[in-house]
Symmetry: none
DNA sequence: GATGAATGAGTATTCATTCAT
DNA sequence: TATGAATGAATACTCATTCAT
């Protein structure tokens, strides 16, 4: 009546893994369609073709499932961002390629992005955790550069890291909400330039403008104030 | 034979207004202490010394009350940011003063800020709406400058506006979560410099660095990549 | 400071009566439009242009107001039905005129009728009370006739009265729900004939049919069974 | 290794069905005792020995449960009325047997009847739906007879059907409210005769009365007017 | 008489989670 | 492993009614 334990164990494991995968996929579909709050663990199990109780054999709750989806996506994003820095050497190339990777990611994981960071009134803290990890990466990189004496000591690396990832997140979410708001290129270019040179930057001639600004401060009171 | 209707009307109005104020204050206290989800409209009414039903005479639900608190704070913030641009003329002064205003605001409205934008898992969309309004202001300002030929046409004003307010929000929330993470000055300085010159900037001498970068790309691959 | 008590009393009375009337009219409008349950005493007061509390100065609750509307309509109906019997002498004329009066009433007071007797899920007992009074009238009349030896002793006057008013109510409500269900004439004629001769009746020749029926019972098994 | 799925499925089904039955019975008890509005779904669940939420596993709400009770009773009634027409051939036998079936039904389902059609101020529309189905049956039967040329073309079949079921419902409810109001026999006889011959009928001799009536209209102004 | 701010009791419904098969 | 019936806590909102002016 008992098959070999090994075999059974192997089969069981594979079966369990398959169930888990189906639940994850069902969750991704439902979350993308309905957001986070209105989806129930029951609904996910049903969508995956299982009974309600089965869900809890594989996930603590729906937030755990969502966190796992987000985790996978987040790791993929980090991997891509890191790849850029090893492939490119030119400064502006790196920045541009990173912005491109971010935008591509936003395109591919649009629903997930909106849920993790936004989606009208809902939220989890997965977005915050993802940002924190990105910021940690940026910050670490900054410290390396600082140790090499290559960066401006006026920047606090942690604050700067938050500034950069905050900029990324806001632009990507805003764009993901309605991709018609800007062209893909506009998003990439603006993020790249802002990250590299700030909002005061004028493209063609980086130098020589400082003087102009100093001379005619009224012409470019570039404070970016609201209203 | 009765009190004058005017008088009654006035008193009635004052009474209703006072009740409303007490509810707002009670809400502020409870939200700051317990966050948004765990506070009930009943609790707010009780904290204010009223019956449960009274709450609904003045607010649709607890989110409406919170939105009103946030709205007031948001308007105050916009007012301050705007004031800066009329008081200062020097570019760097404006940017610095704005960063200072933002940091001061984060200090004064710390709880509100954390609830509106973060607070572990909760959320409303008031944060998003506030940011959008700030972004609208920035964007409008940008368009004015662009019309005056004073800005870089490479920037999409909408994208840039999102980038700036995203940077602000992330840094302020991160700092509000734990003010020990950075000094007040570090936050202001980093935000100011990043906004004006980007992360590639080296403070003292804006020019002459482009060559250095081009020559030693490995020294300053300023891609701000994670990890 | 005090006007003559008489005068004031008179004016007050008139004013109160006017308020009451306006509330009744407002109630009629709202009940007709929204039914009984979804209308609140607040809404009635507001529709009439008064404050919420004023309602309770004139009516115990919305059901009392509705009962008063129904009472007035009911008395009008009884008056008309009674008038018919004094104006007509011919038996069939009376029955026909009554049916006509009932149908006219259903046309004029369509909304009230639907609310009092039906209106999907709502109800009060005003309908039942109205029917009971109509039945009392019918029953009393029957007893008079019985005392004069003019009616069939096989009929229990109370049961018969219920049967007649039940027939009336059901047909009128059914027709009021959708007047396109039958022509005015069909309703009147069918009610009249059924009331006078029952469903076994064949119009043209009341007599001589009994024989036919007796001879060919299978031709007219007039059991009116469902299905 | 587990119990056979079939077995489990069967047991599960039986268990669920048993729970459902217990809820229905509990509902019947409570509705009969307290009417429709004052009974809560919680109370039904508790009466049946289950937790509050269990109720909603089996019924949408208390009205759904009541509708199911009423539906079962209604079908039983229709079944009996139909059986009569197949068992009897004599016209008067059918009508009498139907009236008897209706009265028996009213005796057996007294509480349900009162709730569905009356019960002081409460109501659902289940009564209306039941009547409509009965009327549909009567109407269909009438059309068959009409097609066979066996009925009076003066009758609109739909109006007549409403008249008959209205008569039934009113008499039965009136009697169910207080069975002492009339004897069982009086109810049956009066309903039967009214349905067959109308209120003008005089039992023994259907003909020859027309002349009398025409001659002495004042003696039998059989208008059944109220008052 | 009229006002209208305040009251507060009352209840349906969802859904994460468990556990006996 | 999977099932799915059962659990039961948890909570917003309405609205009839009052009463101080």
């Amino acid at each position: 009546m008992n098959a070999a334990p090994d075999q059974n164990g192997g089969r069981r494991l594979a079966r369990a893994r398959a169930t888990r995968e189906r639940l994850l996929e069902a969750g991704r579909r439902l979350f993308a369609a309905q957001g986070l709050v209105s989806v129930t663990s029951h609904a996910i199990a049903e969508e995956a073709g299982f009974a309600a109780g089965t869900f809890y054999l594989h996930f603590k709750d729906k937030h755990a499932l969502f966190a796992e989806l987000a985790e996978a996506a987040s790791q993929e994003l980090e991997r891509r961002l890191l790849a850029v820095t090893t492939e490119k050497t030119e400064l502006s190339d790196i920045a541009y390629a990173q912005a491109d990777a971010l935008v591509s990611f936003a395109e591919e994981q649009r629903e997930l992005l909106l849920i993790a960071f936004h989606r009208g009134g809902e939220s989890t803290d997965v977005g915050a955790r993802i940002l924190q990890r990105l910021a940690d990466g940026v910050s670490a990189r900054r410290r390396e550069l600082a140790a090499a004496g290559a960066t401006d000591p006026a920047f606090d690396p942690d604050v700067l890291a938050q500034a950069i990832v905050g900029m990324w997140a806001q632009v990507l979410v805003w764009w993901a909400e309605d991709p018609a708001r800007a062209t893909r290129e506009d998003v990439i270019r603006t993020m790249t330039h802002f990250q590299l040179f700030g909002s005061r930057h004028e493209t063609t001639d980086l130098c020589g403008q400082g003087a102009a600004t100093a001379e005619n401060p009224n012409d470019t009171p570039d404070g970016d104030d609201p209203r």
